[in-house]
């Protein structure tokens, strides 16, 4: 295994352990906001972000922890944000659902499903005008593609040939509703209809196939200013929102999680255990930072309103 593979696995494990810490903390009510965990979906996020430069920008959703960390977001500022502290990345005003980290390119996370397609489109348009060689990556779930805005943005980004990669994490569920109840189309055919190159990543646990599928499209977006759609078959281990499992519920196949877990390198690759201590130390430090930080004071309430 190459060094970069090891690094990616380590980074993915770090995200998993951060979210496991959140699960551990949650019952104590120090984090008083809805949390949408990415557990199960970390590795492909890390692999995709590894193909980006720091100046490339990302827009994503309420399921924002993985993208935040994979794009280089600061862990202390993240925990402080979850704790609602003044030292959080957004002074506690964002919480888990709206993480951002502009200095490393995370431009926002929307809790309005589908809102970010057009934000990413506008940002990519600016990159194209500026000829800065940067690209934009828009990371959402498959449910978001049902919103009309997705279709409008595909059209516009194809029309204007924008350096924009739509990454669609297909975990088969929108909250508790399975794909079959919601979609009559295939993403691939849709992308093709707009003549947008499309790649499907079948195995979200295989770094090589992720990179092999995504790299040409990301390079093409950068060098030839072309939009692309990348769909990833993935699986969310936890409930839609919150820290529990919901596999005993009728909308989920209880056996599926075992199949995923059996192949999940973050679980089966015992070599990764070597990283656990240092990651744990880093997480504890971030939690400590959050705990020691002050809550925002009253002045903060009306700051930054026009």
């Amino acid at each position: 295994m190459t060094v970069s593979h090891k690094n990616m696995l380590r980074d993915a494990l770090r995200i998993r352990m951060v979210e496991e810490k959140i699960i551990e903390l949650y019952p104590s009510d120090v984090i008083q906001s809805p949390v949408h965990l990415s557990i199960g979906q970390e590795l492909h996020t890390v692999a995709l972000m590894s193909l980006l430069q720091t100046t490339d920008r990302v827009f994503t959703t309420y399921r924002s922890h993985a993208a935040y960390l994979a794009k280089g977001g600061d862990l202390n500022l993240m925990f402080a944000e979850l704790y609602g502290k003044q030292t959080g990345i957004a002074k506690g005003k964002a919480g888990s659902m709206h993480l951002c980290h502009p200095s490393t390119g995370l431009m926002g996370s929307s809790a309005i499903v589908g809102a970010v397609f057009s934000h990413a489109t506008g940002a990519a348009y600016a990159d194209k005008l500026k000829k800065n060689g940067d690209i934009v990556l828009c990371l959402t779930g498959e449910g978001a593609t049902e919103e009309g805005t997705f279709h409008e943005c595909l059209n516009f980004s194809a029309l204007k040939q924008l350096p924009l990669v739509y990454v669609i994490e297909n975990n088969g569920l929108a909250i508790n509703i399975p794909l079959e109840c919601r979609q009559s189309y295939r993403l691939e055919a849709l992308a093709r209809a707009y003549q947008i190159p499309y790649a499907h990543i079948e195995d979200s646990f295989n770094i090589d196939t992720i990179i092999a599928a995504a790299r040409p499209l990301i390079e093409q977006a950068r060098s030839a200013s072309k939009p692309a759609v990348i769909e990833i078959a993935t699986y969310r281990y936890k409930e839609h929102v919150g820290v529990s499992c919901d596999h005993n519920r009728k909308h989920r196949d209880a056996s599926a999680i075992t199949m995923w877990e059996k192949r999940d390198p973050l679980i089966v690759d015992r070599d990764l255990d070597a990283y656990r201590d240092e990651i744990t130390a880093e997480i504890l430090e971030a939690v400590c930072f959050a705990e020691k930080s002050e809550f925002p004071d009253h002045d903060e309430l009306l700051k930054d309103v026009y």
Partner: protein, 353 residues
């Protein structure tokens, strides 16, 4: 005395609409899952079939237009949104088509339907999952906008809308009311005309016009000041935001001379502004003191618990307002309910959602 929760009343109303009106269809994201819109649509798909109760894709605007088409064709659509914020995606159909359909075509069409949505609050719902947008909807002529504040009003409004009303109705329910228990009177299921306002407490010292959960806060504040000082507050549940009972409000303020408006939204251009307009344009001289408004801080909703706490007005703010209207405006010197007391009466909601 028997009790009824908000959740229970809405659940009964949904079932009733499905049972008694075969034209009713019920749809939205999450109406068929095991959560069933906080329990209010549980099992309805199984019982009434998936032609009448169904999931929608994430497509708020189109499914709102769909409701219009279905309504024009004799169905009674009930479209449900788990957060009122998502209705902003449906604004185009709601404002440009649904609200206009009857009038623009000279009365040739009727578009009965119910759009239910829920206002989130607490537990870091943040800027995009907590908005209370009644003023936005009520600004538009052509729809009834209601905010049920109790089990009884929720039930009556939904049954009336479903069985006796040809107009589009937008309802904003409140997440924090769902587990409240209300005393259930024997006439609980009597259906009354719901597109108006209701007096929920009589008193001669100050009038509180309140919406949604602020009605509950007002009742508790009124009981508190009564116990502490003997003051009697009159409370009006505005209920139908778009068509309030103006006379009821004026008559009350004529009696008390003092007015507090307690709303779940923002003050300017909102319910507070509207009630002040009603008084100012109709009978400004009934006021013995300036109107007091309790509303959200003029900002998007912050996620952090500490900021959220300051963002929303509560019972203590209401008590403070009552005292400063009835005693000294600047220094009433009266003790406010302790934080513990406020907390106790104010349901603290625990997440994750």
């Amino acid at each position: 005395m028997k009790t009824d929760t908000y959740r229970g009343a809405i659940t009964r109303a949904m079932r009733h609409a499905m049972e008694k009106n075969e034209r009713t269809i019920l749809f939205g994201q999450g109406v068929t899952d095991h959560v069933g819109i906080l329990g209010t649509t549980l099992n309805l798909e199984k019982e009434f079939g998936s032609d009448r109760v169904f999931e929608t894709p994430l497509a708020e605007d189109s499914m709102t237009g769909f409701a219009l088409g279905a309504s024009l064709s004799g169905l009674y659509p009930i479209h449900v949104h788990i957060r009122a914020d998502f209705m902003l995606l449906a604004m185009n159909q709601l404002v440009n088509s649904i609200a206009k359909y009857r009038y623009m075509y000279g009365g040739l069409f009727a578009t009965p339907m119910l759009i239910r949505s829920i206002v989130g609050r607490s537990w870091g719902q943040g800027a995009q999952h907590s908005q209370s947008l009644q003023a936005l909807f009520a600004h538009i002529p052509g729809i009834y906008v209601v905010m049920p504040s109790s089990a009884r009003t929720a039930y009556a409004t939904y049954i009336y809308a479903n069985s006796a009303c040809a107009s589009p109705v937008v309802s904003l329910e409140h997440r924090l009311l769902y587990d409240y228990s209300f005393d259930r009177k024997d006439d609980e299921d009597v259906i009354f005309y719901p597109f108006t306002s209701f007096r929920v407490r009589q008193g001669g010292d100050v009038t509180i016009v309140a919406t949604s959960i602020m009605v509950e806060e007002a009742i508790r504040a009124a009981n508190y000041v009564k116990e502490m000082t003997g003051l009697d507050a009159e409370i009006i549940d505005l209920h139908c935001i778009s068509h309030p009972d103006e006379n009821l409000i004026i008559e009350s303020v004529r009696k008390t001379g003092r007015l507090i408006v307690a709303d779940t939204g923002w003050e300017s251009f909102g319910v507070c502004a509207e009630i002040a307009r009603i008084i100012a344009t109709r009978e400004p001289n009934v006021l013995r003191a300036p109107i007091k408004c309790l509303s959200l801080a003029k900002a998007p909703c912050p996620t952090a618990h500490r900021l959220e706490h300051w963002y929303y007005p509560d019972m203590a703010n209401l008590v403070d307002s009552i005292y400063s209207l009835c005693f000294d405006r600047f220094d009433h010197g009266k003790q406010l309910p302790s934080e513990e007391y406020v907390k106790e009466v104010h349901k603290t909601f625990k997440g994750p959602f």
